[in-house]
Structure formats: structure tokens, C-alpha cells
Symmetry: C2
Subunit: 240 residues, 2 copies
């Protein structure tokens, strides 16, 4: 129709679009043809097939396992971030949450933690490192830093099961507000190891600052979520 020269779409993008159609009606977990088979069928190189598949993996639509194959990924979860706990959010969706504590100790605050918690660098703070699981699948890596002296914190945390419950019922700390920042990143070796994602897959990096009823920062947490399995929701109320 138009006389204008239209830039032809790259082959890998055409293939990607075709794959999206193909998997639209397939159940999660279904294997798609192998890379070599697709390369044959489309008369293209495996490199080109891999570029198309890689983007779909990055978008969370496909997954792949070396030696096994490439399959349709399960749909994204929705994570409602209110002043509730991760566990509650997940349970509200009918799923089974869990947390594995990797480390719990008292450490001197580094410069970043000190700034966020408004304490002098070197001040002892509690450090809690955990893996968040849903249906036994590791979905997030979280490192929390807590300000102040919290005697018997370990026992209280285990008893309460939830960080926020422990703070509230163990120490009477009431929370005023939460500030979350959300940004994208790509997985490196640490995330590959901890979350079982593949190199270069997208992540959501969340930094959370929690203030108590007096407006004093009490918690500074850095979390890395699998970007292909999560969607964040924030509900924000009007001021008046």
C-alpha cells in the first residue's frame, strides 16, 4: 500500500512472534520443539533460534533446562505489597509460602545500611538473610537489616514465624509506613545459585525502608525477586 520502504523484521523476531502464537494454547510445562528442530523448520541457524527463545525466556514465557528441553512457563504470580507479610500475600493466593534462613547475626552497619537506618557506620545491627519459597520453589533472596537492640531476636523470630509479627508482638514496634523502590536487573552467578534462574534472566530488585510509629527507620531490606515469576502490586491511599 504505502510506497515507503518498510524495514523488514529481523528473522529472530518473526520466529519469536510465531512462538508466542504457538505457546498461547499450550499448557504450562509443555515442551516445544528443540532448537535444532526449529532451526531446520525455519531454514535458519540455531543462533537465530536461540536469540528468539532467549527473549521469551527473559519475558517469563518460556523456560529451559539443559539436557531436557524448552517448555511453556507457568503464569506470573501477583505479589500485593501492603503492610502485610510476604507469607500472607502468597497464602491469599492459595499457595504455600516458606522461608529458609541462610544467616542471622549482628553485624556492624556498612555505609549504605548506616545511611538508610540513620545510625553511625559501624553500629551493630541485626542482619537476616533469607530465601523466600513458594510451593518449594525459591523465588526471592532477601537481606534485611534491623536497627536497635532486639534481645532474644532469633527465638522470637522463630516463634512468630514472620518478621513483622515478631517486631510487633515481641517488641511492641508499630509500623508507620513503607517505602519500596522497584527496578530491573539481570541475573548473575549469585542469583543463578540461590534462585536457580539462568544467567542474564530479568530480576526485580526491591529496596524496602520501614519506619516505626515515630518515623524512625527500623528496617532496611534488599530483595531480589525472579522477574519472570512475579508481578508487584502497590495500593496507595490518598492522604486525606
Amino acid at each position: 500500500m504505502s510506497a515507503e520502504a518498510v524495514a523488514p523484521l529481523p528473522k529472530y523476531y518473526v520466529l519469536k512472534t510465531d512462538l508466542v502464537e504457538l505457546i498461547a494454547n499450550l499448557a504450562p510445562g509443555t515442551l516445544i520443539p528443540t532448537e535444532r528442530a526449529l532451526a531446520d523448520r525455519y531454514g535458519t541457524s540455531r543462533t537465530t533460534v536461540r536469540q528468539a527463545i532467549s527473549e521469551l525466556v527473559a519475558e517469563g514465557r518460556l523456560g529451559r533446562i539443559q539436557g531436557h528441553g524448552t517448555f511453556v512457563a507457568p503464569p506470573k504470580l501477583t505479589h500485593v505489597r501492603q503492610l502485610t507479610s510476604f507469607s500472607e500475600d502468597v497464602r491469599a493466593q492459595g499457595l504455600r509460602p516458606a522461608a529458609k534462613t541462610l544467616a542471622l547475626s549482628t553485624v556492624p552497619a556498612d555505609n549504605e545500611v548506616a545511611e538508610k537506618l540513620t545510625v553511625p557506620p559501624g553500629t551493630p545491627v541485626h542482619r537476616l538473610e533469607r530465601i523466600r519459597l513458594v510451593e518449594d520453589e525459591p523465588l526471592a533472596h532477601e537481606v534485611a537489616h534491623l536497627r536497635g537492640r532486639l534481645p532474644g531476636f532469633k527465638a522470637k523470630l522463630e516463634k512468630a514465624g514472620s518478621l513483622y509479627t515478631a517486631l510487633k508482638e515481641g517488641y511492641g514496634i508499630r509500623l508507620l509506613d513503607v517505602e519500596d523502590t522497584v527496578e530491573t536487573a539481570l541475573a548473575g552467578p549469585e542469583e543463578v545459585r540461590l534462585l536457580g534462574v539462568e544467567m542474564g534472566s530479568p530480576l526485580l530488585v526491591v529496596h524496602r525502608l520501614v519506619r516505626d510509629a515515630e518515623g524512625i527507620p527500623v528496617e532496611w531490606t534488599s530483595s531480589v525477586f525472579r522477574g519472570d515469576r512475579f508481578r508487584f502490586v502497590a495500593r496507595i491511599k490518598a492522604d486525606g
Copy 2:
């Protein structure tokens, strides 16, 4: 030290790590060596160099322009999402915001819009499509759908300059709360065209549902932000 066999890091990842160090002390905009030069220097193929650079581009640390070169990317912006407007947020950072209206019309609600705005499919709704700019650079593509009859909307919007101001001062609509969802995606041809990003670069897709004082949904907006230029912040107040 350990007798355990350590999986050797892929070459492209080593190169990526080296590049992160290299650019740490370089000013934004500085050109890094060309792909061919890096391939020579590291005794590797250009394909491997491109894999390393591609991930850094996806993370927003590098940018590249065909025929020109690969350069250090500017730092991310921070976008505070409260019940304020995009414009106010950007101005608060000392930057110059702008919006370019691509389309403003009344259209029948499709299934998704109808569901979100709780109206029957086909109901006339206002559709506003805009490009958000900061310092003349397009950073987001936004399609808003507004429920209800809004006589003279176009004129009021132009007069107010801001969507929220227009709703409030033009029609007395007070807003109760906002619900944002944030997820990741990769750029396709439309984003390449509208935002000037490259194919496959990461995006933040935000869906926003705004309710009025009675809790009735009044706005359903779909936004696509450049993932390499934005960081979201949500402040959430405790309920009581």
C-alpha cells in the same frame, strides 16, 4: 583452596565483569572500545563480546548506537509514585518533564478496559494516549482509559496541563486510592519506534487503577517505561 571443582565462569561473563569495572569511573556518554577491538584484546570472538555488552545494555549500564559506538549510560532516574502526577515527580528532581499527546478520543470499551472500569463492554470511554518525556527524551508510553462522561475533556485537559488536575478542578472528582502493578517486559518494534530503545531491552510495564472517593474505578492506565532509565518508588502508609 577447596578441592571441589569450580565451574569456570563463561568468557562473556568475565568480560562483562571487566567492563563493569572499566566503566565505573567513566562519565556518562564516554565511548568504550569497539566490539572488534574488545574481541581482539580479549582474544575472543565478536559474538562473545556482543553477549557481554548486550546484558550491560539490558541493565541500563551501557547504550549503543549503530555506526557510532557503545557508551556509558546515564544513571537511572527515580520515579516516586504517589497520588501526584508524573510531571510533579520529575520536576521534584530538578528535571524538565513534558507530554506529547498522540491520541485523544472516545472509544467503546474492550473487554479488559470494561472489566477494570466495571462497565459493560462497548460502553464509550475516553482514551488518552501519550508519550512522557524528560529533558526531551521519550521515557514512557501511556494509554489511559477514563470512565464516565467528561464534557469538554480535551479543552479542560489542555488547560489544566495535568490529567489529575483536570479531573479534580474540571469535574470535582476526588481520588481515593491507586493500585499499581509493576512487571518486567522486553521491548518489541512498537517500543523501539515510540521510545527509541533497542529490541529486547527491558521495560517496566505499569498498570494503574484509580478509584474515586466512592471507590468507583475512574481510570485504568497502561504504561510502558524504559527499564534502563527508571526506578519506581511507592510509599505505603499503614492503615491505622
